[in-house]
Symmetry: C2
């Protein structure tokens, strides 16, 4: 048993869906979330740069004495997960593999759809993870660049959002997929509209939820918090904490009392 | 007379509307455009950070022997214009004042609307520039965070874009403005839809075009290119030149043959 918190990080705010899924599934666990808002977005940056950023954040989370780290960011998972696992003294989980495993388990016709940002789709990270599990799978990918801005504007069920989703999902519907992986941490907030457009026969795979389930397995009995633990939840960002708080409230349903400002460079200078 | 190029920079790609307006209005002039795509967006960053970035870019543009510099970025204009003017040996222009001046000249009822990104609207830069010119003006501002993503997706006349614009512009229509300042370098590409929604009686002020006009005045006869000049146009970015080229083609109507990759830090190390 351990009362230490779970460390969670993302390039920005999207990973809060993962934080929320963890809090829902594992209500005894404490969490420390870091959004690297000073350097968002990671998508267009080089793999080397993303690995350096991820290592800096891991170092900071370790000074907060976390017992496990969740990389709640598709880009950082794709580029830095192996690297972080090699150097971290605590378990490190990404968001891609849990979603891919759930998709392979759920499909009946071996046609799996993946939606994500332009960067995630172009990286092919989900396609690789899916084909590694089942090489004969047919994978239909679709980049949906407008969905993150719609979520951050809070227009989760707006008619314009629906119109955009209907257009983006055409190739997935004509491709006959029976499973759709939400390959971006923002997308769980659009589940009602996505379900409406894809229909009840297509199973949506929520990477945030699958990652929380994977975390539960990794913690097991050895690392889990005791039943009487009083959990705390800390939010931190590397810049623009005011916007983080206001947009974050869309993700977690309430405005946080405090968002801590973390300067990773100063931290490194004094550590 | 001078055949030296005009230096133009932006945090990313939006300033290409300004470059295009300059090329249209001053077809004899050469241009060098730098998009700081490695560090986009500037909006959430601190004024000190934006000033430092802008100084680095100015230094690079000066090594390219530009005869004038256009800050084709609202955030950099708001935070860094005075600073750049103080240290630059060549004239430096921003995008805010030319638009504000044109708006004050155009309004008949002294009610001026301004649309921009969340950062630009929150900074109040346009409101200040307008009120400095005419203190009794009524200024109605509206942040339109979804419009930049729609432009970069190339959905310039899509029904979803129209639906979003109709919703954003409600306060400006009910506020009875007779002039609307496009306070974001991306928005000139949405002029057809914006005109349609606001109606023919509202004058749109295109900051890109007004900045090009101001540049023409600043160059005068002394700095203008000779009538027989064969102009060249260079595009450069600090990261992700492939995306710059593909999204840039939405802005200038063609895919550029070459986008140069500039490393501002290496440049500083060797200069």
């Amino acid at each position: 048993m351990s009362t230490a918190p779970i460390g969670i990080f993302d390039s920005g705010i999207g990973g809060l869906t993962v934080a929320r899924a963890i809090q829902d599934l594992l209500p005894r666990e404490s969490t420390v979330y870091l959004g690297d808002t000073a350097r968002v977005p990671y998508g267009p940056k080089s793999p080397e740069t993303v690995r350096r950023y991820a290592r800096e954040i891991l170092e900071w989370l370790l000074t907060q004495e976390v017992k496990a780290v969740v990389v709640a960011c598709n880009t950082a998972t794709a580029h830095a997960l192996d690297d972080l696992r090699a150097i971290s003294p605590v378990p490190v989980l990404g968001v891609i593999e849990p979603g891919a495993r759930a998709a392979v388990a759920a499909t009946r016709n071996d046609r799996v759809g993946v939606i994500g940002t332009a960067g995630t789709v172009a990286s092919g990270a989900y396609r690789r993870a899916l084909l590694a599990l089942r090489p004969d799978l047919e994978v239909v990918q679709q980049a949906c660049p407008l969905l993150v801005p719609f979520v951050e504007e809070g227009w989760l069920v707006h008619p314009a959002t629906r119109m955009v989703i209907e257009e983006y999902l055409v190739p997935l519907r004509t491709g006959g997929v029976d499973v759709l992986v939400l390959g971006c941490t923002h997308y769980p907030l659009l589940k009602p509209l996505l379900t409406h457009v894809m229909g009840q026969n297509v199973r949506l795979i929520d990477s945030a939820l699958e990652t929380a389930r994977e975390l539960s397995r990794v913690l097991g009995e050895g690392l889990a918090a005791p039943a009487d633990n009083q959990p705390f939840h800390r939010w931190a960002a590397t810049d623009d904490v005011a916007r983080f708080a206001s947009v974050g409230s869309i993700f977690v349903g309430q405005t946080p009392a405090v968002v801590e400002l973390v300067n990773l460079k100063e931290h490194r200078a004094v550590s």
